[in-house]
Amino acid sequence: MDSSTSVALEPVLSFLAFSLSKLESGFYRIPGSAVVARYVKSSHQNDPGRTILELILVIFAIRTLLQSRTRTDRSGKHFIKFSEKEIDELVDEWVPEPLAQPLSEWEQRDLSSVPVISGPNGPKPKLLATGKIVTNLASFNFAGLAGNEKVKERALETLQKYGLGSCGPPGFYGTIDVHLDLEREIAEFLGTEASILYSQGFSTISSVIPAFCKRGDIIVADRSVNFAIQKGILISRSTVRWFDHNDLKSLEDTLISVEKERKKRKGPLTRRFIITEGIFERDGEMVDLPKLVELKLKYKYRLILDESISFGTMGRTGRGLTELYNVPASQIDMLVGSVANGLCSAGGFCAGSSIVVDHQSCIKQRINGTSFVFSASMPALLATSGSEAITFLRNNPSVLLNLQDNIRAIRAVLEKTEGITLLGHRASPIIHFCLRTQQQSLAVTQPTYDYEAEERILQDIVDDSIANGVLLTRAKHLRGQEMVESRPTIRIAATAALSRKEVEKAAGVVKASVTRILSKRR
């Protein structure tokens, strides 16, 4: 038996031996194969256990390499295996919530009470609902540029040459020469090296922040910054520390504690930013810019300052807080402003500081600013309107004096009004007021008031004053989505387009409305 099997296997064995030797000679013909053979031999060292171990290692490596391409969700410990039938049943059972809930009664009232303007907006617009002409204390027309004939002329000229849309993002033939002109004019106006235009004011800062701040960077921000900044900070994924609203002492404490932490951890030097607003959109407070710049320089932070409200309204010619406090704009690393608010057109900008930072920052934003890169550029005629507005501000410093007069007039009337508290800085072009409570505490962190009830009272005041010929608006916030819930307020936007008399009269109407509504409540 034994010999017969060996005889039967002989051709097979000889074939195997032959093919082995063939393989071996073939293997040695491959360049570099000698090295591999030597490695295998030396690692084998007459110990098959070692070879097997190495083989297992190789197989394991290949397996992990192949595995990493599929998502781990299916193999995770929380994954439950279902049969196809069970999945079908689960799919049938699942009932999603509706995409949107119908509006509540209050929300419906809120929506229907939004004033719609018939014809052009300006100091004295006509309301669509009533057809009445009202005095406008609500729209952002600080320097009175709405309806400016020169701006209109310039827009018409631009239209005839450029059409309306730019039909492309800035990277792909959407950069029109008028955009470059406006960018240069803004930079010259502010005294910075360069600036960059975004096509929507709101999206500007929420795109600027993530363009610079990345994971691991440190942001120190005011607790009450506006919604756009909050969103930008959220997207940036940086480490955030908050300081108390407009409290530079608290800012300094925070900066010191961050520095202490860093020293303790002995971490590498990371980018550090202070983010705050010039004039806070939420309540009209104004930041002490010289002190802020001093702190920024002392602790070596970069400053991102949102001047959406203060640009075009503050200082002698509307250059913003830098002009008001006589701080060179180059001290502010990224100065963000709104062409829509300050220049009555559309869009926003970010102006950069010193040569290096600015040159780099602008290039960086031209690549990393998401809403710059991925969005069509601003229509040409809105850009030239912005340019014309800058010329207007440069040539007419008196309008901002009128604006300050009107602010003082409004505050003078409202300060004497019972039942409300005026918020914000005395020179701020937006004037917030909220209802006065017995405790007189305005600390936003401890709500000692009934948000919804106050909202309703304020809306009654707004409605009443509209009925009496003065357009007002509540400062509206997305409740629940803002980081800090601030007390409901009515926001008055002063304008230079009205005379002092008209403003006083309008403020008087507001005062009367407040008194009327509040007395009804009692």
């Binding site: 299916r74 439950i80 999945i87 799919v91 699942w94 009932v95 999603p96 919530e97 995409l99 949107a100 509006l103 719609v116 014809g119 907006n121 300006g122 669509l128 406008n136 609500a138 729209s139 952002f140 709405a146 209109k152 239209l159 005839q160 040459k161 059409g163 309306l164 849309g165 039909c167 800035p170 792909f172 033939y173 959407g174 950069t175 020469d177 955009h179 470059l180 096509s199 929507q200 709101f202 999206s203 610079f212 990345k214 959220l234 030097l269 990371t270 070596k300 970069r302 709104s338 559309a346 290096v356 930072v357 031209r366 998401t370 809403s371 991925f374 809105l382 309107s385 509206k476 997305l478």
Partner: protein, 674 residues
């Protein structure tokens, strides 16, 4: 005709424009008759003195008569480029063109039209990708490898020896660098070397042609120096699908009137006293146009997604997103608290298996059922030119009960027999989709975006979307452009009939008309929806001009697709997509392609895109076809691609190949062949 491949540097002559002050008295001569005779003269003149180098006085006079006022609209340059300024064939006496040829090309040949509509006898085209030969892939990888090696080596040595160039990348007096050298590697080492192909400043209208500002660089693209010269080039890059980027014409007239009446801004946010009656009428018109109950307008296209998606979904919701969705959608989803899962681009099997998984598994860890699932897809993908497989997704929607959000940024206006986007193309009732989003930047020549859906939803978005409270409202000129261009696509019902047609125009019947078939007109705009002061001229008001635009766009897109294929190029995308990507692969060829196209005797500006906007190997040039292009323009692009592609070795497609002349000759046959 353009000369073969002359790699001329861009001309740096100080100015190729000439002031035409002495002929300004002619500028008022804008009637059709004067225009016709002018074009006639131009043509005969161009033919008689073929190579006269400097244009003589008649040319000046007629160019000012054609442009009617703007001196930049028509160039006064060598005869070669007259194919950009004047039509190849002179118009006959019965043809009346109301557009300026440089903005919107004259094309009277009715054979060069096509209807964009899905043929249900064939299955929906899958997104098939043609593979290039292996050596192309290999060389592409090798070139990136070389780039990486050299780049890092230069960084390494540069930081030690030429510190001045790297100060912005190194910590200095206590400040961390604003850019980390690792993050900016690609920007510095690849993009900067071809910066002359990006962010090219332009002037004038981004229509059929565009005027680029000549520039050059002496320091490897660190800074660009403007020569002051300008060059008119054929524009196959702007998102001007229906050709509404015009400084002349009915829409521009309407915008002009609106600036006079409304100024340029509404000074505020929508909810805080920046709402104008124009917003209300534009929103009603958009809702009617897309066939939804209500619509909401936002002043920026990007922000439409990034500020309204967070109001749609929140904690406990799931967003299922196509892997190639636009950045604005990603930002929007990140702003919300919803979870995200991705599926393979346009792969319905991948989507279904993902749906089965997420519905059966529920939320991670807790296994609670999802509150809601929102699938976000784009109608037409801007980098690929692929069209969403909407019929299948709507089928899946019925089964898996998810909500469907279709971003029609590129498809609205550009697709479908009536320009109503993908729903129109597939003849699917728009209301079987929950949310339709789109932009006005592309087909309408305006700016901003809309979101449309059921009234309950839109009202909620008005209050809870970020835009309504915090972002400036859309400005009156932009609104007017939207309303006038959209109304002209819809056609306006004359006011005498509007009472009669009011019954048939109820929202419910609009779906029925859309279903009935392409021949029947879908809803028109009742004249009561337009501002009373807006007088569109008859060709715009009856929708005939817009119909012509839509059909010209379909013809042009299809012709370019098929032509490039027949010439042997690898292209992506749907044959009806106005976005035509042509694959280049090697990064080095990208800038060459762009420069060679730009320096032709008739310059053509193109968009090249590479990593990170596309996968590493598939660098591409992206053509955006417009209705404003004539058949001759597409011929010119094909001819240029043929020559440049031959030199750069780009023709790797499989299938039958034709010569360029045959492609041009048999264009109509090509377009109708698939």
């Amino acid at each position: 005709m353009p000369s073969p491949m002359a790699l001329n540097p861009p001309s740096r002559s100080p100015s190729i424009f000439k002031k035409k002050k002495s002929f300004s008295q002619l500028s008022s001569m804008a009637t059709a008759a004067s225009y016709l005779s002018a074009v006639h003269q131009a043509d005969t003149r161009a033919r008689s003195h073929d190579n006269s180098s400097v244009s003589s006085t008649p040319a000046l006079s007629l160019s000012s008569s054609v442009t009617a006022s703007s001196e930049d609209t028509i160039l006064n340059e060598d005869d070669e480029n007259n194919c950009l300024a004047y039509p190849f064939t002179p118009p006959t006496s019965e043809q009346v063109f109301t557009t300026v040829h440089t903005e919107f090309g004259h094309c009277a040949n009715e054979a060069y039209r096509c209807v964009s509509k899905h043929d249900y006898s064939k299955p929906v085209q899958e997104h098939n990708i043609e593979e290039p030969p292996y050596y192309i892939l290999l060389t592409t990888y090798i070139s990136y490898l070389i780039l990486l090696c050299f780049g890092h080596m230069r960084d390494f040595f540069g930081k030690r020896f030429t510190k001045s160039y790297f100060t912005h990348l190194m910590p200095h007096d206590g400040y961390a660098p604003l850019n980390s050298d690792f993050d900016s590697f690609y920007t510095r080492r690849l993009k900067r070397r071809m910066d002359d192909c990006f962010s090219q400043p332009v002037t004038g209208v981004a229509g059929r042609t565009i005027v680029i500002l000549d520039r050059y660089s002496t320091d490897n693209n660190h800074t660009q120096i403007f020569t002051g010269g300008k060059t008119r080039a054929l524009n196959i890059s702007s998102y001007n699908y229906l050709g509404f980027a015009q400084a002349r014409g009915g829409c521009a007239d309407a915008v002009e009137e609106s600036i006079r009446r409304y100024g340029v801004s509404t000074c505020g946010t929508r909810l805080e006293s920046g709402s104008s009656e124009l917003h209300a009428s534009a929103e009603a018109l958009v809702a009617r146009f897309v066939g939804m109950e209500d619509a909401l307008i936002s002043s920026m296209g990007f922000a439409t997604n990034s500020t309204f998606i967070p109001a749609l979904v929140g904690k406990g919701s799931l967003v299922i997103s196509d892997e190639l969705n636009h950045a604005s959608i990603r930002v929007g989803v990140r702003h919300s608290d919803a979870q995200v899962r991705m599926f393979k681009h346009n792969d319905m099997l991948s989507l279904e298996s993902l749906l089965r998984e997420v519905v059966s598994q529920g939320q991670p860890k807790t296994h609670r059922p999802w509150k809601k699932i929102l699938v976000i897809v784009e109608g037409l993908y801007s980098m690929e030119g692929t069209l969403v497989n909407l019929p299948r997704i709507v089928e899946l929607k019925q089964k898996y009960k998810f909500f469907l959000f279709v971003d029609e940024a590129h498809s609205i206006g550009a697709l479908g027999p009536h320009g109503r986007g993908v729903t129109d193309y597939f003849n699917i009732p728009p209301r079987s989709i929950d949310v339709l989003m789109g932009t006005f930047t592309k087909s309408f020549g305006a700016a901003g975006g809309y979101i449309a859906g059921p009234k309950i939803l839109i009202d909620a978005l008005r209050l809870h979307g970020h835009s309504g409270l915090y972002a400036e409202a859309m400005t009156p000129p932009v609104l007017t452009q939207v309303v006038s261009s959209m109304a002209s696509i819809m056609g306006v019902v004359p006011s005498s009939q509007s009472t009669k047609s009011a019954l048939t125009l109820s929202p419910a019947s609009s779906i029925v008309t859309l279903k009935d078939g392409a021949e029947e007109l879908p809803v028109m705009a009742p004249s009561s929806m337009l501002p009373t002061w807006m007088n569109l001229h008859p060709a715009l008001a009856d929708g005939s001009e817009a119909r012509m635009r839509i059909r010209r766009l379909a013809f042009n897109s299809r012709y370019l697709h098929q032509g490039l294929k027949k010439l042997g190029f690898i292209t992506y995308g749907h044959p009806f997509s106005p976005i035509v990507p042509l694959l280049i692969f090697n990064p080095g060829k990208m800038s060459m392609f762009s420069r060679m196209m730009r320096s032709r005797s008739t310059p053509i500006v193109v968009v090249v895109v590479a990593y990170p906007a596309t996968p590493l190997v598939t660098s591409r040039v992206r053509f955006c076809v417009s209705a404003s292009h004539t058949k001759e323009d597409i011929d010119m692009v094909l001819r240029a691609c043929d020559e440049v592609g031959g030199i750069l070795d780009l023709k790797h497609g499989v299938g039958e190949r034709w010569g360029i002349d045959e492609v041009c000759k048999r264009a109509v046959e090509l377009v109708h062949s698939v």
